[in-house]
């Protein structure tokens, strides 16, 4: 078990943000995820980011579906309301909540299964509405909580812990979101706090739908053939005993690299993914060129990371709907009800 939240004794020494709050004030309950799970690193980044932007904890609304990833909304900012809804349907809850009160910050945490399989339709339509929220996909290529089936983001050729190989092409949430006209599209890696924290802060500030696809290795079920540290390999060799339900206690993987650089990251099972950070020359406002570059890199087996596409001008849901600046849930009843006089007027038309 990893310990993200510790008893909240506000140490005088701890650094404070604009609101005079310490990082502790943005932590949540104990994580029940596997030691070394990428998701916990993302949770830490969210804590860091929300502390950094100086968000009032109660103004952060945390939404999620079902999955290891979706559990994490309980592990940060315990001062904000959380809604751990049903599998794949978080975007609908988020849309409703946001409609009721546009003045709060909405952060949705989902998994690749939650978003790209059962929740794909809602995900796409949240983008279409340009729902004003930060949507984080904790993308590990598997269904962690149900023990390692492939998700729709698994690469062709991936081997699962159980041994079978995935032959279906992956759905890339980044390209998908760009095709659907998302206004803020980013990709990062769970272990790259340096890149992740500012992206989360930018996403929280973005007016409209902000997507961050965070590659987040699953300690337990990510497994690839030909890896000298893979379960498959270990089974046959060093492991003195093998137990179906044994899960090694791992440390989180971190990645620290510069703009324009490519960084090969070795996962717990020894597999490698190559991350390439955008260089300053990259223009995130040209959608089709951006898409082309991302696809190019992918052919080369690289994940381009950073803020990949941005279109600040787009109208978010409330601008389209023409709602007032005051939250709908704050409008006094007197303003909402036409009253008996109003009713009389209406009835006249039905006589």
């Amino acid at each position: 078990m990893t310990f993200i939240a510790k008893p909240k004794i506000a140490h005088p020494s701890l650094p404070k943000n604009a609101l005079g709050l310490t990082r502790r004030d943005y932590e949540g309950a104990l994580s029940t995820l596997c030691a070394g799970c990428g998701h916990d690193s993302i949770t830490a980044a969210i804590v860091e980011a929300s502390w950094g932007v100086g968000l009032e904890p109660q103004n952060l609304v945390k939404l999620s579906g079902i999955g290891c990833s979706s559990k994490t909304t309980a592990y940060f900012v315990s001062g904000g309301h959380g809604f751990n809804s049903v599998h794949g349907r978080m975007p609908a809850i988020a849309m409703g909540a946001n409609a009721a009160n546009r003045s709060l910050s909405y952060i949705g945490v989902s998994g690749d299964g939650d978003t790209l399989s059962i929740g794909l339709g809602q995900f796409c339509h949240a983008i279409r509405r340009n729902l004003n929220m930060l949507y984080i996909i904790e993308n590990n290529g598997v269904y962690g909580l149900t023990k390692g089936q492939f998700s729709a983001s698994a690469d062709i050729g991936t081997r699962a812990k159980k041994g079978e190989t995935n032959f279906q092409p992956p759905i890339d949430p980044v390209l998908l979101a760009m095709t659907l006209g998302a206004s803020f599209v980013a990709r990062s890696f769970s272990g790259d706090k340096q890149q992740l924290v500012p992206l989360i802060q930018a996403g929280l500030k973005h007016e409209g739908f902000a997507l961050i696809d965070v590659l987040s290795p699953c300690v337990t079920f990510n497994d690839h053939e030909g890896s000298t540290k893979s379960y498959a390999y270990t089974r046959e060799h060093y492991e003195p005993a093998v137990h179906a339900d044994f899960i090694p206690l791992e440390r989180e993987i971190t990645a620290d690299y510069k703009e324009g650089e490519a960084l090969p990251v070795v996962l717990h099972d020894g597999s490698r993914i190559v991350l390439r950070k955008l260089d300053s020359a990259y223009d995130p406002t040209d959608r089709s060129r951006a898409a082309a570059q991302i696809q190019e890199r992918m052919k080369g087996g690289e994940y381009l990371t950073g803020l990949l596409y941005l279109e600040p001008s787009q109208n978010e849901f409330h601008q389209v709907n023409g709602t007032p600046d005051a939250p709908l849930n704050s409008l006094p009843y007197e303003v909402l009800s036409p009253g008996s006089k109003g009713l009389e007027k209406v009835l006249a038309r039905y006589r």
């Binding site: 809604f83 751990n84 049903v86 609908a92 849309m95 409703g96 409609a99 009160n101 709908l328 009835l347």
Partner: protein, 613 residues
């Protein structure tokens, strides 16, 4: 003028058979309104196909001086404008009745009925001679038959002109053209037929203080007055017009005069799952929100309904029932979702349901639904149906008490929160099974975690047997509270009979009429109409007080009878089902027959079994 039949004055039914997409709706509306304006109660039933153009469609206008609101089940005057259905339309006319048809083209073979009067009017010819353009001519043909009926029934032309003037206030030229068509039919009829017919209209004063409105419009109006600000939906017949009406009203009465901003959010969702989720998310966040759907949508909302029940999130859902199962007959009526709505979703779940019987109740119950949902922190499903929702009903004027304020239930504001030592969402402090809510954005101390997975009364995640059960048992305590606050049944025990009649929703009109008929035949029955699930205590009493109960409902599987059997102490052998589920609204005659069949002397009054209709 032909000898009037006093018994049929202001008491007869006209049926108009046309092809959909030919614009007969406004002709029919015109007729309805002019009769209504003449002070005579009138009923309109629209039997339309589930397509857009080219299929048979019928409109039934019942003139009823006694103010009945059900389908009459008989046709006195048939206006047969559709060649395709002509044969069967002719058959439907009651002996002694009338048939009006377009005699532009002769229909020899089909005119074989000696027991009815056939009136041919060359509608097409008249319009072709007097109007230009294909569209115009098709349209005018319909207005023209309205003119014919005006003559036959002795409708007030001045009044009709007035109505047209209102309808086309912005396009005066249309008043003239329409009036011209009316006059054409009117004059032709008077010239060739002895007008008015023995069954015709004579002015009354029975519609003062009344309106003609459909249930979906009334329900939408209720949502506006309840203070609903978030409406999420996915289009589906017959619920669509409820959302359309809400949007129309909101755009009229919810625009900020200064800023022009819209004090409501109207969201067309990608499907019903999303629509339900949006309404739930919005009410969780403190706005009054709702969605409207029909059977297929309720099926798709099952998972979210279970979440809202267990996570205790208020939400209001309108189910405008249509014929099932599956896609069924989208433009026909039924009460087939009673059972599913009551227990929707897996696991131990039960939902508060309201059963309006007419547009008037749709209005008031819409408001009640929001109050109950927030008071009980649970979904409330309002079960209307296509007959109530899409047909025009004569209703008493809707009233509004300006002292009304929404009942937000146990919702803590900042002051109360600051007073708290610690906040626990699911504790039963008051012993009524209902905890206290807080809203996001108020205070970190009041933050809690909402989840559909196992949780303790303190709101923490749990897989512990005892902790889980504490919450599940409390929900039953809350259910007992619900029983006390839901609307009571409507009971008429004036007959003081050993026999009772129990029903729900839109059966009401046919039943009240049937009770009159039965009384005339010497059979007096007590009557109870349940208006909510769970059933209020008075339901138990009524069931206990009668030795035989007819349960009238519009579905095949006796779903209301099932709910009564499960949720009350009644001995089900006392419950005799009268089931009508053909898709047409139930008529009084079906009930009368069903009851008499059972109560004839010699019959084993207490034998179980069900009459199927």
């Amino acid at each position: 003028m032909s000898k009037a039949d006093p018994t049929r004055i202001n008491d007869f039914t006209i049926k108009i058979a046309t092809v959909n997409g030919t614009g007969s709706a406004s002709a029919n509306a015109l007729l309805m309104k002019s009769i209504f304006r003449s002070g005579i109660p009138v009923v309109g039933k629209n039997y339309f196909p589930s397509n857009i153009q080219g299929l048979p469609t019928w409109y039934e206008i019942r003139v009823t001086k006694d103010g009945y609101v059900a389908r009459s089940g008989r046709v006195d005057i048939m206006v047969a404008m559709n060649a395709e259905t002509y044969a069967r339309d002719v058959k439907e006319v009651a002996p002694g009745g009338y048939l009006v048809y377009d005699s532009t083209w002769p229909r020899p073979a089909l005119l074989k009925r000696e027991d009815i009067t056939v009136l041919g009017v060359p509608l097409a010819r008249l319009c072709n001679e007097n109007f230009n353009g294909v569209r115009t001519r098709i349209l005018m043909k319909n207005i023209c038959y309205a003119g014919v009926l005006a003559a036959l029934l002795d409708l007030d032309l001045a009044q009709i002109r007035a109505l047209l003037a209102e309808t086309y206030a912005k396009k005066p030229q249309l008043v003239e053209s329409n009036m011209k068509a009316i006059q054409l039919g009117y004059d032709y009829a008077r010239a060739h037929v002895e007008c008015p017919l023995p069954l015709h209209v004579v002015k009354m004063a029975h519609t003062a203080g009344h309106i003609m409105i459909d249930g979906n419009t009334a329900a939408a109006l209720g949502c506006v007055f309840a203070g609903a600000t978030v409406a999420a939906w996915y289009p589906i017949t017959p619920s669509t017009s409820l959302m359309d009406a809400f949007k129309m009203f909101a755009e009229r009465m919810r625009i900020d005069p200064q800023t022009g901003r819209r004090n409501f959010a109207f969201i067309q969702a990608e499907d019903e799952l999303a629509a339900a989720g949006m309404a739930i998310g919005a009410m969780w966040n403190g706005a009054r929100a709702f969605t409207a759907t029909s059977g297929p949508g309720i099926s798709l909302m099952n998972e979210f309904l279970g979440l809202a029940y267990y996570a205790e999130v208020p939400v209001v859902i309108f189910d405008i029932q249509r014929v099932g199962p599956s896609t069924g007959m989208p433009t026909r009526t039924q009460q087939g979702d009673l059972l599913l709505s009551a227990y929707a979703s897996h696991g131990d779940t039960r939902h508060v349901c309201l059963y309006p019987a007419n547009p008037e109740e749709c209005f008031y119950m819409a408001v009640q639904a929001f109050d109950l949902a927030e008071r009980l922190q649970t979904p409330v499903i309002v079960l209307s149906d296509l007959d109530i929702g899409m047909n025009d009903w004569l209703c008493r004027d809707l009233k509004w008490d300006d002292n009304y304020r929404p009942d937000r239930g146990k919702m803590l504001g900042l002051e109360e929160i600051l007073k708290l030592e610690k906040f626990y969402r699911f504790l039963d402090k008051d012993g009524d099974g209902i905890g206290y809510r807080t809203l996001p954005g108020v205070h970190p101390k009041a933050a809690y975690f909402t989840r559909g997975s196992g949780h303790t009364q303190y709101g923490a995640y749990t897989e512990d047997a005892a902790d889980y059960q504490i919450v599940l048992d409390r929900l039953m305590k809350k259910w007992a509270t619900a029983r006390r606050v839901v609307p009571r049944a409507v009971i008429d025990a004036t007959a003081g009979s050993r026999f009772g009649l129990v029903s729900v929703g839109s059966c009401d009109g046919a039943i009240r009429e049937a009770l009159d008929v039965l009384k005339q035949r010497g059979v007096g029955l007590d009557y109870m109409r349940v208006r909510s699930f769970p059933f209020s205590e008075d339901v138990e009493k009524f069931l206990a007080a009668h030795e035989l109960l007819f349960v009238v409902e519009q579905n095949r599987d006796a779903q209301l009878r099932a709910l009564l059997t499960l949720e009350t102490a009644v001995d089900k052998s006392k419950l005799r089902s009268l089931l009508h589920y053909s898709g047409l609204p139930i008529s009084s005659s079906f009930i009368v027959q069903g009851v008499l069949a059972e109560l004839q002397p010699g019959q084993r009054v207490l034998s179980p079994g069900a009459a199927h209709g």
